[in-house]
């Protein structure tokens, strides 16, 4: 796209109360933050022009993250540290830009090239972590892990790419491509663990 002008990629964190803001609302939040930042924004063409931005891999409601990504376009080049500063000043508490880099315009979209995501699971004090560890091992020894999504059967087993423990925290790397993706809470639900018993933070997004 020759008319795309200057493309930037921001890595940002989402935590605190902001974890209760959903993906579509986050899109709106960034549109407005970009407008407040007074950066020379690139708008979409058409009847009601919108700020051009793309977010990758919707973060489920209630998860925090240190590794979200957004692409956006500017009319003129601006130094990335300056973009970071201006954007952070325009964002509500709980969302922070960690880095900004200029990226080539011909890169595929974030959403299309997302392959997998890594999560850190912290368990609440009342949970016996060693029991979770043992149960998880048994679970993963099964030939398949079938869950039902909207009346459709999905096998989670091939979607678990990596898993390890550090102290009492569980690290899970799960497939997150447009074709096949898994959520850590789906896996934990197979161990009868519910959302009140742990906190999940996304700590990495991986692209092809």
């Amino acid at each position: 796209m020759s008319e795309s002008k200057f493309r930037y990629r921001a890595v940002f964190s989402k935590n605190g109360d902001m974890r209760f803001i959903g993906h579509l609302d986050l899109q709106q939040l960034f549109e407005r933050a970009l407008r407040r930042s007074a950066l020379p924004l690139r708008y979409s063409q058409g009847f009601s022009p919108k700020v051009r931005l793309n977010l990758a891999g919707a973060l489920p409601l209630g998860f925090t993250s240190t590794a979200e990504m957004m692409d956006f376009w500017l009319e003129q080049p601006v130094e990335p540290p300056l973009i970071q500063e201006q954007l952070n000043a325009a964002l509500p508490t709980g969302i922070r830009i960690i880095s900004v880099t200029e990226v080539p315009n011909d890169l595929p979209s974030l959403q299309a090239s997302l392959k997998s995501a890594e999560y850190e699971v912290s368990f609440k004090a009342e949970i016996d972590v060693s029991a979770v560890n043992a149960n998880l091992e048994d679970l993963l020894n099964k030939p398949n892990l079938i869950v039902t999504r909207r009346n459709k059967q999905v096998d989670l087993k091939p979607l678990v790419e990596a898993l390890h423990w550090e102290e009492d925290k569980l690290y899970l790397r799960l497939s997150s491509s447009p074709e096949a993706s898994a959520r850590p809470d789906e896996l934990l639900a197979l161990l009868d663990l519910t959302t009140e018993q742990y906190d999940i933070q996304r700590i990495g997004l991986y692209y092809s």
Partner: protein, 618 residues
């Protein structure tokens, strides 16, 4: 566990948890211990509805500018969140610091419409605050209320400690300062109420004795304390203050999610059915420069891409054409949409129409004839020649609009079935004009609401039309609209019924509201949640006739429940206007000629001397 962490675990179980967490851009968050006085501003409906309320946003700003005061926000939780709070025995809390409402010094509740009253009770109950004013003690918050519904405060008198009548910008600080002095003095709660009653515009219902005649009508509402005034006159701002620009920007989708700029307060048209037009006098305008600056600063501070221009009748703003031209020039490259509602036919030009089309591409056009015959329009004092209306419609279509919405009321005084039928005929004529110009893409939309005779209007003595009549008229319109290819939407007659009881009621309705809430009534403005049975049972249980309040012609010498509250417009004026209506005679816009409505008698002394402060009064 702290309330904060307990709440967090609930948020995973409710729809749209972003409603309950606050943390939006431009939120003000002061350390709790850093201020003397804590005020919770409460909108008694869900966040999605209440967040955009301009009145509360203004008060939030005024209070938080004070170094010794903090203001936080609270809304009604939706059904799912209420269930969670009750199951876990958690109190209702403020969005900013997640503090239980019972720990605030003052709760300021806005009452913009009547169908929100049961939600007030539900909120107090969820907060663990005694519902009845006379059951509150020294440690309970002071409960104050303001807003458009408070011009008849009586139905909520049992629950509210003090009402602020009229515009709240000044009185909110006066009330808070009196509260601070009282708290420092450590005296009894009665002393606080007595001190508040002395403030102009503040109504403390517990200081009045209400007596009734044997036929159930009011005998008198008389103060039994020498601190209270026998007539509480509303407050106004002689000059509109600087418009607010640092609006809180919601993180979740809300209704009216845009930058609001109020260009004018009040209306000089004198439509006889219109509560807002009577109670919000005099007309005061902001200057074009002030408005343009507010839009610029507001857009920069919020990042909104839509601006809503607020007023009761935008096309009556004296500088409307210069304003829209200037808005267009300033913002045409800023990717901003501007909507300008409340236009009046015959008071705007083709030129203005073209400006509007540029500012809000793709939008529809709305006109509000309210009645479809010239006779009935004379009765309601909204005169408009049908030829002018049809010519305006033609111009609207010729200028490229395809969607035209027309508002009408049914149940107006003296209305006949011919008047109702005429709505369809007028709609059809407009549709034919549209078809002849723009073909089948034209859509005509009828918006039908039920007339409620409102307090402080010339129609306040009239009964409401019976539910049976309203139903017959609605059915006629629904059938006819289908046949005539007109789209039609309407207010549910049942929702209007609750509104009519509560807007016309006296102090005895407090018991009905309490009982209706106990019977399960809440969110009465939500047609899918309205529980009319709960209300009917409540009337029966309390031993009152609902028809007494709505279906009875009130005699002209009857003491009305709101007679001790003054909007500045005299009863004599309302009565004269009623008689003119009965003679089918109109009065022109009172900017051109003063009809001595009482506003100037009331507020002449505070009218700013400077020419540049525009008042609509001659």
């Amino acid at each position: 566990m702290t309330l904060q962490t307990e709440l967090e675990s609930l948020l995973y179980r409710v729809e749209k948890p972003g409603r309950y967490v606050g943390g939006e851009f431009n939120q003000v968050m002061k350390p709790w211990g850093s201020v003397e006085t804590h005020v919770a501003l409460v909108f008694p409906d869900i966040y999605d509805i209440g967040q955009s309320n301009l009145g509360l946003a203004i008060l939030y700003d005024i209070l938080n500018r004070q170094p010794d005061i903090l203001a936080e926000r609270a809304y009604a939780p939706w059904i799912d969140m209420e269930t969670q709070l009750r199951e876990h025995n958690l109190p209702l809390f403020s969005l900013e610091s997640k503090t239980p409402l019972s720990e605030f010094d003052i709760l300021g509740i806005t009452l913009p419409y009547e169908q929100i009253y049961t939600n007030v009770l539900n909120i107090l109950d969820l907060a663990g605050i005694p519902l009845l004013s006379n059951q509150r003690g020294a440690t309970d918050p002071l409960i104050i209320a303001g807003g458009q519904a408070c011009y008849n405060p009586e139905p909520m008198a049992d629950f509210i400690d003090a009402f602020a009548i009229g515009e709240g910008e000044e009185v909110i600080l006066e009330i808070t300062h009196i509260y601070q002095a009282w708290k420092r003095s450590g005296t009894a709660r009665e002393d606080l109420l007595a001190a508040l009653a002395k403030v102009p515009g503040v109504y403390v219902p517990s200081l009045y004795t209400v007596s009734y005649n044997p036929d159930g009508t009011l005998q008198a509402v008389i103060p039994h304390s020498n601190h209270a005034s026998s007539l509480v006159v509303k407050r106004i701002m002689p000059k509109l203050p600087q418009p607010l620009t640092h609006f809180i920007v919601p993180n979740v989708q809300t209704v009216h999610d845009r930058l609001s700029v109020e260009i004018m307060r009040g209306c000089t048209r004198g439509c006889r059915f219109c509560h807002a037009g009577m109670v919000n006098r005099p007309v005061r305008e902001r200057s074009v420069e002030e408005i343009i600056t507010a839009i610029k600063e507001g857009l920069a501070a919020t990042g909104h891409d839509e601006v809503g221009i607020l007023s009761l009748s935008s096309s009556d703003y004296t500088q409307i054409l210069p304003l829209t031209q200037k808005i267009y020039r300033e913002f045409k490259d800023a990717q901003v949409r501007v909507s300008l509602p409340s236009l009046r036919i015959a008071s705007f030009s083709v030129e203005l129409m073209d400006e509007l089309k540029e500012l809000s591409p793709g939008g529809g056009f709305t006109i509000a004839p309210e009645a479809a015959t010239e006779r009935l329009r004379a009765v309601i004092n909204k005169p408009l020649d049908e030829d002018v209306l049809l010519e305006t419609a033609r111009t609207i279509f010729e200028h490229g609009w395809l969607n035209l919405k027309m508002y009408f009321m049914i149940g107006l005084p003296t209305e006949t079935m011919e008047d109702v039928q005429a709505i369809l005929e007028l709609g059809s004529k407009v549709y034919k004009i549209g078809r002849s110009i723009a073909g089948h893409r034209v859509h005509i939309h009828l918006g039908i609401s039920t007339f409620i005779p409102k307090a402080h209007t010339p129609f306040q003595w009239y009964p409401m039309d019976t539910p049976e009549n309203i139903q017959t008229k609605m059915d006629l319109l629904k059938r006819g609209a289908r046949q005539a290819h007109l789209k039609m939407t309407y207010n549910l007659p049942e929702v209007s019924q609750v509104e009519s009881w509560l807007s016309r009621g006296d102090r005895r309705l407090g018991a009905v509201i309490l009982q209706a809430w106990r019977n399960g009534a809440k969110f009465d403005a939500w047609s899918e949640l309205l529980n009319l049975q709960a209300w009917q049972n409540a009337f029966a249980r309390v031993g009152l006739e609902s028809d007494f309040y709505t279906l009875r012609q009130r005699s002209l010498d009857e003491v009305l429940p709101w007679d001790h509250i003054s909007t500045g417009v005299s009863k004599h004026f309302l009565l004269t206007d009623l008689r003119l209506s009965q003679a089918e005679r109109t009065r022109e816009d009172c900017r051109n000629r003063c009809y001595n409505c009482g506003i100037l008698d009331c507020f002449e002394s505070i009218r700013p001397a400077q020419e540049e402060v525009y008042w609509g009064c001659p």
